[in-house]
Subunit: 518 residues, 2 copies
């Protein structure tokens, strides 16, 4: 039975709406197969891992409790985040240009968190439908969906009333938001990124975010852009958390300063004491860095305190080892302490990002299929949204100066003291042209960090729009064995007006045998 | 005297306003220097060429008739185009979402070509100021501005009442829009991209564009987005002109179809016969492909018929040779037929794009300084705007199929027949999230063309937002000697949701020893 996208969407929506709905089976019609691997969890890692195994000639099976493949990303996490961040960018522009140019007077009453959640909910099924369709029709991977997997042993999984045998297990059950231990988190009006899309049923007017994670910044910037005044309560400085490495201080200042410029309140070094209310949230008590305790009135609390994987079942049945942070311990082949059992994605250490999820799934598959492949995700390009895209890779200026004899900085605005930068319309490119021409201080920041001795780029940092895609390639180029010199970069063919001006800025200095800043 | 940006801006504006204003001199105080090169024209090529020569230890001098460096790009060409294209993108979103979500009912009366021109004019001086400031303070290049250069011989140029001696001349005097030979182009209401920003003094209500160039498409998409109903009259099919190579047919259909979907009238195979009116433009007579002649009423005609370099002075004095299209003939070192005289940028053959302008200037300098360097711009990444960014590099599907035994296509929407793509929310990423969730047919198109035998990417094509920057690196990667295989691409670290999904789409197929489409 070959469903089209519309039919898949309908089946998925029906299954989600009815807890007693039937499992969705896409299985070949042979008796008692032994799979090369059963992927417990069909999220990003499981789906890509299984697809790769199948492409290599192996036989994988995916089992997922949800009626769709793709996991939490398109259902509750990165996809809604991107939708909300695009809204934040658009709302930000509409506010700055209110009643200027072609922008009408900004009408805050139209901007609604609830409406955006509804838009997401109305559309998310179509992404799910595509992944079910593609996985069956193009990738030819077998799956059992809408059925919770019960691991019996390391070669046996039950689901949908059937028993499946496999040579290997690949655990990709994802992670969930974690709460911290303060009173009041059970009140109505306390949300995390999951319950936001599943349960929001009113329009918040005032938001307190507990935590300083990427999620805190991203959702906070969105809430605030809709007109819901937002305070972030973070123990550490924003972007100075353990989870984010290589954040350049100038970039951080531009980003966090930009959030404050837009009216967000950011309390750093602040500890949440309690969430208060009767049935509904009324306020949050916060102990400031000074020691003073304050009450912030609010009708909406959002938890941005991180995530933790779902490991209990695998620990109980298989004896899988986890580390102090609750992540499954796996080597660079994604092998756990139990032979034949692999763990991938948000289950294991490292960034809870898409590239790691998918590539760890592929790494498990390639090892299962006999390749000897290690996946090292200690270095990678990273990003977050505020009302901007913020992207970085490699070393910060500070890290480079600690590691190298001679560090050259190439940046925009230029690396000089005392320039009247409010008169500087640069950087400018797609997405910042209107800012550059009338509010230049909003048009972004960009920086290259270069080893003066080898002339190699060791770090790149960007705030603006449209450069995120490029950082995938910059990451590859600077981390390949020969690296990326300012000479090679400066000789590339730029697509002016390029969102990051790295090619042309490099060219302006590459002629010098002894490099200097720009 | 070290002016800051604000002071530079003021000086430039004052100089532009007063035809009798003084030259702007930034010269070292020595007697009768002999420069390594005088750059006649301080546009993109002259400025980058001179900066590179100075960085290498040479002594360049730039002379320009305008009171600022950077040439036509920031004054009349690529920078206003980018500003207008950003407005077009924003207006397009505001129209599609009129009275939906946070977008108010679209008020066409606010959208104004004239207002956007005024915004540009108010801000362009600040970009000029930066280039004057940077060239003096950071790049330490000497210049004479606001003074027309008179070439005396190949070693002597006069300007600002002074005579300058040089070992070499580098000609970078740029290009100007060309008109075609039809009656009525002198009527009020006929513009090109130069006169648009310099002379527009009313709000057009109806536009006819003559020509099918990039400029025609880019400005046409902007005019139409402001509510000025636009008809493009083009002899050839859009994007099938000699000037644009490697345009994939599917991409072209998406782009041109998208323009039509927005209500633009595109007459291909149509010849302009005359522009009619008394003092002001009233209509354009067009001979359609069928032979029928029609009159299109309009108050605004825009010429998008290409550009031609300014060579007369150099031909007269130096005997520089030009080709049939009026371009100076230069070799890959930018040497003309006259020893010691180089030509760069829009003066010579090839795309009138920024990368060629700047790198040809640098090539001239590096050869003058003794390097033996050739610059081959026969292959390069290319782009244009409609209300989208459209970017491409390498071979089209059709070109690849003509050249290779086995061509594999990886694309989104998928390379299959009969899929109900109106239900497909992909591609989606920054800039297309809102479309993907409510008008998925507007969310873009992307395609990789792969040589099945070598597994190398031979072409990449994208319509959407946010991928332009990446194509600079894709161009480098696919054109380096070892190329870029689907395996290397598929193992990169994607920054999900990446505007082009090339990394992950490649990964879904890279496991196959014999590649198939996706």
């Amino acid at each position: 039975m070959h469903l089209n996208l519309g039919e898949w969407n309908e089946l998925i929506e029906r299954s989600l709406a009815d807890p007693d709905s039937e499992p969705i089976l896409n299985l070949e019609r042979d008796e008692d197969p032994v799979y090369d691997a059963v992927f417990v969890g069909g999220g990003a890692g499981g789906r890509f891992g299984a697809a790769y195994m199948k492409a290599m000639g192996g036989r994988p099976l995916i089992i997922d409790a949800w009626p769709f493949l793709g996991g939490s990303c398109p259902h509750q996490a990165c996809v809604p985040h991107h939708l909300f961040s695009e809204a934040a960018e658009e709302l930000d522009r509409a506010r700055w240009f209110s009643d200027e140019l072609f922008y009408p007077k900004f009408d805050a009453s139209r901007a609604s968190i609830l409406e955006m959640v509804k838009l997401f909910l109305a559309g998310r099924g179509s992404a799910h439908a595509f992944m079910n369709w593609q996985t069956k029709e193009q990738l030819e991977v077998e799956y059992v969906l809408n059925a919770r997997a019960t691991i019996i042993d390391k070669n046996t999984v039950q689901a949908a009333g059937k028993t499946f045998k496999a040579k290997n297990l690949v655990l990709g059950m994802g992670a969930r938001p974690i709460d911290i231990d303060i009173p009041g988190l059970d009140l109505h009006g306390v949300f995390d990124f999951v319950s936001l899309v599943e349960e929001l049923d009113y329009e918040p007017t005032r938001c307190v975010i507990i935590g300083g994670s990427k999620v805190a910044m991203e959702y906070g910037a969105f809430f605030h852009a809709t007109g819901c005044d937002t305070t972030i309560v973070s123990r550490s400085q924003l972007m100075r958390t353990k989870a984010l490495h290589h954040v350049d201080e100038d970039l951080r200042q531009y980003v966090v300063g930009g959030m404050r410029k837009r009216g967000m309140e950011i309390l750093e070094g602040a500890h949440p004491v309690s969430v208060n209310g009767d049935e509904r949230v009324r306020s949050v008590t916060v102990r400031l860095e000074s020691g003073e305790e304050i009450d912030i009135e609010t009708d909406f609390v959002f938890m941005g305190t991180g995530e933790r994987p779902n490991t209990a079942h695998a620990q109980d049945v298989l004896g899988i080892e986890v580390n102090d942070y609750g992540r499954v311990i796996a080597n660079k082949r994604m092998q756990t302490n139990v032979p034949g059992v692999y763990a991938i994605g948000d289950m294991i250490d490292g960034p809870m990002e898409m590239f790691k999820a998918r590539k760890s799934g592929v790494t498990a598959s390639r090892n299962i299929m006999g390749e000897d492949l290690e996946f090292d995700f200690s270095e990678y390009p990273d990003f977050l949204h505020t009302t901007y895209e913020v992207t970085w890779v490699g070393l910060t200026e500070e890290e480079a100066k600690a590691a190298l004899d001679e560090v050259i900085i190439i940046q925009m605005p230029p690396y000089v003291e005392g320039l009247d930068t409010p008169n500087l319309p640069l950087p400018c490119a797609e997405g910042t042209m209107l800012y550059a021409f009338s509010k230049p201080e909003l048009s972004g920041f960009q920086k290259l960090v270069i080893d003066g001795a080898t002339r190699k780029v060791v770090g790149a940092h960007h705030v603006g729009y449209g450069a995120k895609d490029a950082f995938q390639y910059l990451d590859y180029l600077i981390h390949r064995p020969e690296g990326l010199t300012i000479d090679t970069l400066g000789w590339m063919n730029e697509l002016f007006l390029n969102p990051e001006h790295f090619v042309q800025l490099s060219r302006l200095r590459a002629g010098k045998s002894k490099l200097i800043h720009l």
